[in-house]
Each structure stands twice: as structure tokens, then as C-alpha cells.
């Protein structure tokens, strides 16, 4: 644990679409890299080298800067048993931490149950994006899912300030447990009022917040800004979740352009968030986990890459002991798994490390098993 007095906070950044690990952390000195990637290779002189073996993609300079400051743990060769190349199923596995069977409960949902067992705070976890990721789902866990912080709430379609205020006033009274008698009336009342309360509190975040950091104009950067706003507002939120739109990193074609653009936006947003937290004296309270559902094929298809398995993840923050973790999977043809990078560490090891060493929770209970931990948390 760090020395911080405040409760540790986890920010999860989901890179949907499966980014190309090989061009993210690049084994630039391996001659095989160039063979596999005749069109997509990043030239040696452009790679932001970490050591004589690997380096970051040039668009990731803002994250590389943080790496140089010792704030970024790079988890190489991360994956899960029996890789599946479906975005949906694979993302499900990352969300539920259950590679072997389908489950409707998320690993963070279970963590939230532990963080707020008595459901005292309606904002223990907040998601920014459309729809709730299964990672945050668990029985009895209520998570605010925010499309846009500025307009979040119920009945947002009612125009006019006074009409809206009136509508929300009626809403709060209609959801009184004293009103109505349906089979689950009390539960609905509680859920409705919690949602209203959560929205009321959340809406104040942008008003309280001020910062000199200017985030990018893309959706993801705005959501990351929302993360900063909610955290600095001091609502006691412990888990903040956001990500790219579905399929964003699914670069089957035209990879060079879209890949660099996305990493540019994401890296800038990550660094902006860190700087923003620092400005609010909150940099020591937050650790970020950045992951994607699987890697992409080692052999390019000409202009892009198809679905693969072994990947790379990042854990970022002041609480992190920066460096390379896991092993970079071999590019030797006979060491590949069906033409994919072979994973060598179970993603649940990273989860376990974060749960235990950062959030101080019972990782074995949450993950329903024991996984060897890394030491990337200070």
C-alpha cells in the first residue's frame, strides 16, 4: 500500500476492439518482427525504446514519458487459457474473470460488494459510456452508468429548467416507497431514488471542478475528463470505468492510420488524467488499469491485423512500481500459438495484484481462486 491516507481508487480503461499488442509494445530489434509486418512495421528509429528489445509505439509518447518516470507497469504476454477470438466472449472473460464458463457476475461487481458492503454510497462505482460493462455487474450492486456527466439523470428529455425541476420533484415523490404496491415496490423505490440521488450528486461534479488540463475533444478523452471530475469532487467513488467505443481498435484494415490516431488520443488522455489528478493533489490515490480483450495476429494481412490472442496490459499511477512484467512472447514460428503470441501470465494475476495490493480486498474470494501476484504495486 502507498502512504496515502485516502482510500485507493481504481480507474479501468477498456480498449475495445483488441489493440495490436505487437505494435503497441514493439519487439523492434527482433528481425522476425519486420518479416511478419512488411507493411505495418514501425521503423526502428521511430520506436520509443524501453531497452534494447522492446519499445512503445511512437503515438504513445505521453505514456512513455510516464514510463520513464517509473509510473507504468507493462504486463507483457498477458492472456487467458484457451484463447477465443470472439470480441464478445473474450471481453466477457475479462469482465467475469471466468474463462471456463459463462457467468453474469463481474469481477469488479464483486469488488464493489466488498468495498461498500452496506451500500452506503450510491456512487461507489461509476461507469462512463453507454451501457454497463458486465465487469461491474453483481447482485445488489448499483452502478451509475453515465453517458455524459453534463446531462446525466432521469427524464433528460424534458426541456426547460423549471419543467425539468418539476419533473424530478414528482419523480422523487412517485418513487416514495409509500406510493404504489407492485410486487417489488420497495426495491424499485430504492433503486429509483438511488439513481436520482446519484444523478443529483454527479451533476454537481462539473460545477465543483476546475482544472488547467485541457482534454482532447474525442469521446474517450471526455469520459476520462469525467473520471477526473468525479474523483476530484470527492464523492467517495472507488471504481471508475470507461473505455473506447466497441470495435474501436479492431484494425482489420487501414491499421497504421487508425491505430496511431487511437493510441495518440488514449495516451494523451491517460497523461492528462494523471496531470489533472496531480493538479488536484490526488495523483497518489489513483491507479489505472488499461486492457484490451485479446491481441492480434502476428502476421499482418496487408493493411491490418486479424484477431489473435496474447496481449499486453498497463497499470499506471504513482502507486505503481514501473517496469516490464511478464515475458515478451517469442516470435519464433514454432513458439507461436496458431500464429498468435503465446500468453504466459493469466490476466487474473494482474487482477489479483490490484485487488490485494492496491484495493486491499480479498482477491481469492473475488476471483474464486488463487493467482500468483506481481509486485507492480509499491
Amino acid at each position: 500500500m502507498t502512504a496515502t491516507k485516502k482510500d485507493p481508487v481504481l480507474v479501468v480503461l477498456q480498449m475495445s476492439g483488441a489493440f495490436d499488442a505487437l505494435n503497441t509494445i514493439i519487439p523492434y530489434n527482433d528481425p522476425l518482427y519486420k518479416d511478419y509486418r512488411p507493411h505495418l512495421k514501425v521503423e526502428v528509429e521511430e520506436v520509443l525504446a524501453v531497452d534494447d528489445k522492446v519499445g512503445f509505439h511512437p503515438a504513445m509518447a505521453p505514456i512513455k514519458d510516464m514510463y520513464d518516470d517509473g509510473k507504468v507497469a507493462v504486463i507483457q504476454g498477458i492472456g487467458y487459457p484457451n484463447p477465443i477470438r470472439s470480441h464478445f466472449r473474450s471481453m466477457d472473460i475479462w469482465h467475469t474473470a471466468e474463462p471456463a464458463k459463462m457467468s453474469s457476475e463481474g469481477w469488479l461487481g464483486r469488488a464493489i460488494q466488498d468495498l461498500d458492503p452496506n451500500k452506503e454510497n450510491v456512487l461507489t462505482a461509476v461507469n462512463f459510456g453507454r451501457g454497463l460493462p458486465r465487469a461491474l455487474a453483481a447482485p445488489g450492486v448499483s452502478v451509475a452508468s453515465v453517458g455524459s456527466l453534463e446531462t446525466y439523470g432521469v427524464l433528460t428529455g424534458i426541456d426547460g429548467e423549471s419543467q425539468r425541476a418539476e419533473a424530478l420533484d414528482i419523480f422523487s415523490r412517485m418513487y416514495s416507497p409509500m406510493v404504489g404496491s407492485g410486487p417489488i415496490n420497495e426495491y424499485l423505490s430504492q433503486t429509483g431514488l438511488d439513481a436520482l440521488k446519484g444523478a443529483d450528486i454527479l451533476r454537481t461534479a462539473p460545477e465543483i471542478y476546475s482544472s488547467s488540463v485541457e482534454y482532447g475533444g474525442d469521446m474517450f478523452s471526455q469520459w476520462v475528463k469525467n473520471v477526473a471530475q468525479v474523483h476530484s469532487a470527492g464523492f467517495g467513488t472507488r471504481v471508475l470505468y470507461t473505455g473506447l467505443n466497441p470495435g474501436a481498435f479492431d484494425t482489420h484494415a487501414n491499421q497504421p492510420t487508425s491505430f496511431a490516431k487511437l493510441w495518440g488520443e488514449v495516451s494523451r488522455a491517460v497523461n492528462d488524467l494523471y496531470q489533472d489528478l496531480k493538479e488536484h493533489n490526488a495523483n497518489e490515490e489513483v491507479v489505472m488499469l488499461l486492457f484490451t480483450e485479446f491481441g492480434r495476429r502476428v502476421q499482418e494481412n496487408g493493411s491490418g491485423t486479424d484477431h489473435g490472442s496474447g496481449s499486453v496490459a498497463f497499470v499506471i499511477g504513482d502507486g505503481v512500481k514501473g517496469g516490464l512484467y511478464g515475458e515478451y512472447p517469442s516470435l519464433e514460428p514454432d513458439k507461436l500459438d496458431e500464429g498468435d503470441l503465446k500468453w504466459n501470465n493469466d490476466f487474473r494475476s494482474t487482477y489479483a495484484t490490484i485487488l490485494d495490493k492496491w484495493l486491499d480486498l480479498d482477491d481469492q474470494e473475488i476471483l474464486k481462486g488463487s493467482y500468483e501476484q506481481f509486485d507492480f504495486i509499491k
Partner: protein, 347 residues
């Protein structure tokens, strides 16, 4: 009209297949709906694409050489559904339906949602103009589908929802038209594909009437053939029609998953069922992935199932006897050569 007597059956030699599912751009198509060929033998395939926001771009015209199998140009762009209205940027597609080339090689693309005909230059596919006024009055268009130019660069536009054919100059001046909704001669029910033969006669795939109608260049009804069904000479939603120099009429019998070939008088000759193999662009993708290679080796009845036409939607035939059949759900073109039949009598 061909008056010769046919003494040997018309047969087709399968040549090769071009395409693969390619959801954004590059070597392949995505729900292709129209095909045409320019004077240099380049094929133009129009991909209808999908509305899924993640697949951006995906609606495009792909220009490629059918033998070298190289994409030489791609043009057109997708507009998000919420922006598909009168403010849609120039040159973009919502529901593109057909592509035709004028004598100068400019490409005209119809869009049945935007009710536009968009025009692109022959070099790089730059947008250079458009026309089209939505409506049902004379000179207005509603759901344009098939397009075909006559020798004088008049553009024949099949209007699906106006159930008629309207003829415009290249720049959109209305000249004349014919047809209305119905089942009688010269009437249509949601017509789709169109072809103009060497004599200037016009063939229309009268989609929901399950027949093909033939007209003189001025719209005078000449003949019709086809009834609903899946037997010989019957159709289930014919979409495309093409006529070769011998006067043979090819019809994509969309729902029956086949192409039927007819004599100039509309009598049935034969049916093509398709025999696609692995395309070059397909192989590029398949051989990247040993699991796909193995799955193909193991797949039961692969050549039969994969070879068969599915959803043949448009067809192009050339004076060189080549036949290009486009299949929407299989994202590919199957190419055949018509074997010269023996004829006796005068040609």
C-alpha cells in the same frame, strides 16, 4: 434479333472468383449490390456495406482489374444514419443501389434513401456532381434502383417505389419515362435491375412480379417472361439482368440462388448454380490463419456449399463472352466464360 438456330447447348466455363468479406475497405467487398465494367475491362463493384457504426468506411465503389485482381481505386463514403438527409455531404452513400458508366467513363451511383444520383470522375473517383429531386411527379425520383446508359448517354433510372423507368440526360434533365404499379404489360412492382442491349432495347427485372420485361428504347412494351416459382423459367425476386452480344439474357434469380439464361425470345436455356473456389483475396486472408486453413480442410462439402451461388444480385456480361455474377451475402464475383455454341443458319 438472333435468328440462328442453336444446335449445341450453351455452356459456361468457370474462370475464377474475386472477393472476400472486407468490412471497411481494401481487397474485398461488403454486401455488394451492383457491378459494371468499363471499356478497359475494369470492374466496378458497389458495396452497400452495413449501418453498423464500427464499420466505417464500408460503403464504397471498388474499381479493380478482373485478371490482375488489383484494386485501382475506391470511392464514395458512408454517412451515419442520423445524418442521412438533405444535408448529407456530397459524394456519400446511405443505401446505394447501382453504378453505371457514361461514355466518358464517369461513374453514376444511385442511392435509394437519399434519392440522389451521384457522379464521380473516371480518374480517382472524385465526386463531381449529383442530381435528383425526390418525389413522384415527372422528373422526380423515388427509390432509384438499377441504372443503365444508352449509346447517347441517356441514363435510364429504374425507380423502385414509383414503379417506373425514367430517362434522364447525364446532367439530370428528364426526357421521358414509362410504367406504373401493376401486373400488366409495361407495369411494374418494385422493379430493380436494368440492361440496355446493342439495339438499345431495355430489359427490366420486374422484381416483385417475378418476371423480366423487355421494351423498345422509347418504352414500348415488347415482351415479358417469367412467373413466380422455382422451376425452369420461373423466378423468385429477380434482381439483375444482362444481355450478351448473342442476345442471350441472363437473370439473377435472387431468392432461388441461381442465374438463369434465356434466348432472345425469352425461352429458357439453362441454369447456372455457381462454382466459386477460393479467391486470391480470400487466400490472402485464409493463409494467415492456420486454424482457418484447417477448418476449410475439414469442412464437410466445402466446395459444393461454398461454390454455390447465394444471393446472386447483379450480373454483367461482356462482348468477350465473360460473365460476372455478383453475390451480395458472399461478397464476391464469380467469373465464367460462355462457351461458343455451334450455330447453323444466319447470325
Amino acid at each position: 434479333m438472333v435468328t440462328a438456330t442453336e444446335i449445341a447447348p450453351v455452356t459456361f466455363q468457370y474462370s475464377h472468383t474475386i472477393g472476400r468479406q472486407e468490412v471497411r475497405s481494401g481487397n474485398g467487398f461488403f454486401n455488394p449490390v451492383a457491378i459494371t465494367r468499363d471499356d478497359n475491362g475494369m470492374l466496378y463493384v458497389l458495396s452497400r456495406g452495413t449501418e453498423t457504426p464500427a464499420f466505417f468506411p464500408c460503403k464504397r465503389v471498388t474499381v479493380f482489374h478482373p485478371d490482375e485482381e488489383e484494386v485501382v481505386a475506391e470511392f464514395g463514403q458512408k454517412v451515419p444514419p442520423e445524418d442521412a438527409d438533405e444535408t448529407t455531404p456530397n459524394g456519400s452513400f446511405m443505401w446505394p443501389t447501382s453504378v453505371a458508366l457514361d461514355s466518358k467513363g464517369y461513374a453514376y451511383v444511385s442511392d435509394e434513401w437519399l434519392n440522389r444520383i451521384s457522379i464521380y470522375d473516371q480518374e480517382r473517383g472524385n465526386w463531381i456532381g449529383m442530381w435528383g429531386i425526390p418525389g413522384s411527379a415527372e422528373g422526380e425520383i423515388d427509390r432509384p434502383a438499377g441504372l443503365a446508359f444508352d449509346r447517347d448517354d441517356n441514363l435510364y433510372v429504374v425507380e423502385s417505389r414509383n414503379h417506373r423507368v425514367s430517362v434522364f440526360t447525364r446532367d439530370g434533365q428528364f426526357k421521358f419515362g414509362w410504367g406504373r404499379k401493376g401486373t400488366g404489360d409495361g407495369e411494374f412492382d418494385h422493379p430493380w435491375g436494368i440492361e440496355i442491349d446493342h439495339n438499345g432495347d431495355v430489359y427490366v427485372a420486374d422484381w416483385r412480379n417475378d418476371r423480366v420485361q423487355k421494351f423498345a428504347p422509347d418504352g414500348t412494351f415488347l415482351m415479358k417472361f417469367g412467373t413466380p416459382g422455382d422451376g425452369e423459367g420461373e423466378f423468385s425476386r429477380p434482381t439483375g439482368v444482362a444481355v450478351d452480344k448473342d442476345g442471350h439474357i441472363f437473370v439473377t434469380d435472387y431468392r432461388n440462388d441461381r442465374v438463369q439464361v434465356f434466348r432472345a425470345n425469352g425461352s429458357y436455356i439453362t441454369t447456372m448454380q455457381g462454382q466459386a473456389g477460393l479467391s486470391k483475396w480470400g487466400a490472402e486472408r485464409v493463409y494467415l490463419d492456420p486454424t482457418i486453413v484447417r477448418a476449410r480442410e475439414r469442412a464437410l462439402g466445402l466446395s459444393e456449399r461454398e461454390g454455390a451461388f447465394q444471393g446472386p444480385i447483379a450480373i454483367e456480361v461482356g462482348d468477350d463472352g465473360r460473365v460476372f455474377v455478383l453475390e451480395a451475402p458472399r461478397h464476391r464475383v464469380q467469373i465464367f466464360s460462355k462457351q461458343t455454341a455451334m450455330f447453323a443458319g444466319e447470325l
